[in-house]
């Protein structure tokens, strides 16, 4: 029995691994095939001169430059909001929370993780309506509201990965801080967080990717088709995933659809670049942690 099972299992494992790689390669290949020819200056800037567009001298119509900037700001802003809060919550849950609080908080985090993004969008939408009627009659949808809602959406990833990475630290390393006379906070800052660094990084990358691709939340909290460059945090903005959705749903020519594929390719590259930035930043931290 064993002699049949073993090769079968090994075969299945290989097949599964190959399928993942094949699907990823197919996806990339398809995007490159349909999109690459449309990636040119015109895709980004439309009719506008690229130098004028980049320096902000002239507005861009018909190009994805404002959407690229919008998504970039959205990801950076929501990361700035969610990563510190998420890491701090993860530290609290792993290191400080009493058992009861931990299970309640864990339940809340799971609930948040299970919230569909459209519900999060509706929450932002309702929040603005409430604010308008009560404290802030001026309040409107825009980049900041969308970033807050996205931050809420990705928060559970950061919390859970931080918590898991901290809890996975073996006991003898965990005791090292206190045994050397470090206080609990000092142990967390100087021993546990550096040791858990890579685990936490994977959570932040997951969160950034999710922030970059989400369409449902921003649809209800401030994205529009033709907003131009975001002028302030309170302004409406464009975003790549919404642009892709818009082009795919409303295209009239094959060329427009190809532009959608090209935009998807750009979104993929943008998130790739952000992942790389997060990775390099973590490596720099790690280096600094290692030496000084």
């Amino acid at each position: 029995m064993k002699s049949i099972c073993d090769p079968l299992l090994i075969g299945f494992a290989w097949l599964s691994a190959l399928t993942v790689m094949l699907v990823a390669a197919l996806l990339m290949g398809f995007l490159l095939w349909r999109g690459l020819t449309s990636v040119d200056v015109e895709l980004f800037f439309g009719e506008t001169n690229w130098l004028d567009a980049v320096t902000g001298k002239a507005p861009v119509f018909g190009g994805i430059w404002p959407a690229l900037a919008g998504t970039f700001y959205l990801v950076v802003l929501s990361s700035l909001l969610s990563i510190p809060v998420g890491i701090a919550s993860g530290v609290y849950m792993a290191e400080y929370a009493p058992n009861r609080a931990r299970s309640w908080l864990g339940f809340a985090v799971d609930l948040l993780a299970g919230t569909p993004s459209i519900v999060m969008g509706l929450f932002g939408f309702a929040l603005i309506l409430l604010l308008r009627k009560t404290l802030l009659p001026e309040a409107g949808m825009g980049l900041f509201l969308a970033a807050c809602c996205i931050a809420l959406l990705v928060l559970p990833y950061v919390i859970r990965t931080t918590q898991t990475a901290l809890e996975a630290i073996p006991r003898h390393l965990r005791l090292l801080g206190p045994a050397s006379g470090l206080s609990q906070l000092q142990t967390i800052l100087h021993v546990l967080l550096p040791v858990a660094g890579r685990g936490i990084l994977s959570g932040t990358i997951l969160a950034m990717g999710r922030a970059a691709e989400d369409t449902a939340v921003i649809l209800l909290t401030g994205v529009v088709a033709q907003a131009g460059m975001p002028r302030s945090l309170w302004d409406r903005f464009e975003a790549l995933p919404f642009r892709i959705y818009y082009l795919a749903a409303e295209h009239q020519t094959r060329q427009q659809l190809d532009q959608g594929f090209a935009t998807a390719l750009v979104l993929l590259l943008l998130t790739g670049a952000l992942f790389l930035a997060a990775f390099l930043m973590q490596r720099r931290f790690e280096k600094r942690w290692k030496i000084s």
Partner: protein
């Protein structure tokens, strides 16, 4: 000899420790003398490590820990009742009572930072004082010549024995008065273990050393005083002369293991 007349360095009276209702140590009375190397032996589960961790109050990191009884330690500035609230801040207690663990616990840092980090964080040391203290500690464990040219290498690149000596150096750098050593050679090969044993024999002149050992023959080589634990109680104490007596030692082996 003067030390020994001054009385015990650690006095343990009626110590009981339980974890979530399970009694691990019960009615322990023990006087540990300064300048002696006390070795605690016993079958696994007999409470050896728990006894060690009771001294620097590290048991409190384990769930459901309850400690009863008194442990008093004679530091340079007088007696401290370590379990009386407010007698001594815990971080300070644990700096004065240094500990080395069974598995080498190097941090994912450079060799240098493994030693300097606690010094910087707890004592606020900087500059040349810090570097001198590091070198002193590494010399104490005979590691300086082996690592002086590679202080900025990752500590994980050291061999197991070197890592354990690095951990010992990190503890010594904090200038403890008492050294707790929890099966320091359990994960090492023969040669590396021998080196650690020699170190401990040298260090006992300056520190009160309490070690847990899994091996009776090692205990026999090292101990000035042997404490035998079984099911959470002290069943026997022996001094060096008794240990060298083959028949008494054989009876001990038969009785305990």
């Amino acid at each position: 000899m003067e030390n020994k007349l001054a009385g015990p360095a650690i006095a343990i009276e009626e110590l009981s420790v339980e974890f979530s209702g399970k009694i691990v140590l019960e009615g322990i009375n023990l006087a540990i003398l300064p300048g002696e190397l006390t070795v605690i032996v016993g079958p696994s589960g007999s409470g050896k490590s728990t006894l060690l961790r009771a001294i620097n109050r590290l048991n409190e990191f384990f769930p459901g820990c309850r400690t009863k009884g008194v442990i008093r330690i004679h530091f340079n500035d007088g007696w401290m009742d370590v379990y009386r609230d407010g007698a001594i801040p815990l971080p300070e207690l644990r700096m004065r009572v240094g500990m080395v663990f069974q598995t080498p616990t190097v941090l994912p840092f450079t060799i240098k930072k493994n030693i300097t980090m606690p010094l910087k964080v707890t004592l606020g040391m900087r500059g040349t004082g810090l570097v001198q203290r590091m070198e002193w500690a590494l010399r104490q464990v005979a590691l300086w010549d082996e690592v002086r040219d590679r202080l900025l290498d990752d500590a994980a690149t050291l061999s197991g024995g070197q890592q354990q000596r690095l951990c010992l150096a990190r503890t010594l750098a904090l200038e403890p008065q008492i050294l707790l050593v929890d099966e320091p050679t359990a994960s090492l090969d023969f040669r590396a273990a021998e080196k650690i044993e020699q170190l401990l024999l040298r260090l006992k002149d300056r520190y009160t050393v309490v070690a847990v050992s899994h091996s009776l023959s090692q205990a026999r080589r090292l101990a000035d005083r042997l404490v035998v634990l079984r099911e959470g109680r002290i069943v026997q104490q022996m001094n060096r002369q008794h240990l060298q007596d083959a028949t008494i030692f054989q009876t001990l082996i038969d009785r305990v293991f």
